[in-house]
């Protein structure tokens, strides 16, 4: 009898125990979930801190590198400019030296006694016979055909005389015109009739 009661009581306690155990297990599981969520949140925060620190470090490094690059480029540019200036100066100096050297060389060659002897020898050997022969030919030609040079001289003389006469006439005509304008302005005269043409 007592077992039966115990048995009748036991099922109730077992159910309660089961329920308690289940509740305990559920509580345990909830705790573990909270733990996981908390761990994940902590991990996320730590990760964010780590990445922020990394970004900061990288940014600093990059800025430092950029500053160094800018400074280096400016220095290179300045150096290039200096080199270009020096190159231009050296080239001008080289040209001056070259010109001076050429002048000196030409002066030395031109005033060299050896060259003078060479030129004199060539003149004696080539030029004088040629000039003599040409002059002889010209004199012979003028002896044969004197009219050519005479007509040339005559035409030249005629041209000069014509030019002088033309200048005198044009100057006198301009003077006449000026006097005519003055007198016509003073006397209020109109232009005269044209002179009669020569009868045929």
């Amino acid at each position: 009898m007592g077992n039966h009661e115990e048995n009748s009581v036991r099922p109730e306690s077992a159910e309660e125990a089961g329920a308690t155990t289940a509740g305990r297990i559920a509580g345990q599981l909830g705790r573990w979930g909270d733990l996981a969520v908390g761990t994940a949140a902590e991990t996320e925060e730590a990760t964010l801190h780590v990445f922020a620190a990394l970004r900061s470090v990288v940014s600093r490094r990059r800025r430092a590198v950029s500053d160094r690059a800018v400074a280096g480029a400016t220095g290179v540019r300045r150096r290039i400019t200096e080199l270009a200036d020096r190159g231009a100066a050296e080239r001008a100096r080289g040209r001056g030296l070259l010109a001076a050297g050429l002048d000196a060389a030409v002066a030395a060659v031109a005033t060299s006694p050896v060259l003078e002897q060479v030129v004199d020898a060539q003149l004696e050997r080539v030029l004088r016979p040629v000039v003599g022969a040409v002059l002889d030919d010209i004199v012979d030609m003028l002896e044969r055909e004197p009219e050519r040079i005479r007509s040339l001289v005559r035409s030249q003389r005629t041209t000069m005389v014509d030019e002088v006469v033309s200048r005198v006439r044009s100057g006198a005509a301009a003077g006449d015109g000026n006097v005519d304008r003055l007198t016509s302005r003073v006397l209020h005269q109109g232009p005269p009739a044209p002179p009669p043409s020569e009868p045929q």
Partner: protein, 168 residues
């Protein structure tokens, strides 16, 4: 067929230059002749020397006469004296014909005896001096047609010429 050459009246400057040139030519020859006479007279003797002195004294009279004859002869033969030829001038009668002997002689004598009358050409419309008026002559400058040696002279417009008549 060529167009007739234009003409225009010669003015004071051209005619004065020509007159001075002709005077210099006449003076040169007359002075040379007088010098030759003096030299010959110095060699010939007392009578010739007196004659030479008289000739030299008459230089003042001989020179204008020589000038008149010189001008008249050249105007009659060529229509221009050497000085006028250099300036490109020519003397013709008012009708355009060449100068006759009487007009040339009269013109030459008047020019020499009354040279101040030449200034009348300044105020005359056809640039006729007193000796031109008396001898009925004019002094012209023949203009060479365009393209040749043309004298640079201010021209009067042809329309203005057309309004005038030749008879006045």
């Amino acid at each position: 067929m060529t167009a007739p050459a234009r003409r225009e009246y010669a003015g004071l400057v051209s005619r004065s230059i020509a007159y001075v040139l002709d005077t210099m030519v006449v003076m040169f020859f007359v002075s040379g002749a007088v010098a030759v006479i003096l030299v010959v007279a110095a060699v010939a003797g007392a009578y010739a020397r007196d004659l030479a002195i008289a000739a030299a004294s008459a230089y003042v009279l001989v020179l204008p006469a020589a000038m008149a004859v010189y001008c008249a002869v050249f105007w009659l033969l060529a229509g221009r004296t050497p000085g006028m030829a250099l300036l490109g001038l020519r003397v013709v009668q008012t009708d355009g014909r060449p100068v006759r002997w009487f007009s040339a002689l009269l013109r030459g004598v008047l020019l020499v005896c009354f040279p101040i009358g030449a200034l009348w050409l300044v105020v005359d419309r056809r640039h006729q001096a007193v000796h031109d008026k008396v001898a009925r002559t004019i002094v012209i400058r023949p203009m060479v047609p365009d393209g040749a040696h043309e004298v640079a002279m201010p021209r009067v417009p042809q329309d203005a010429y057309a309004q005038e008549t030749l008879g006045d």
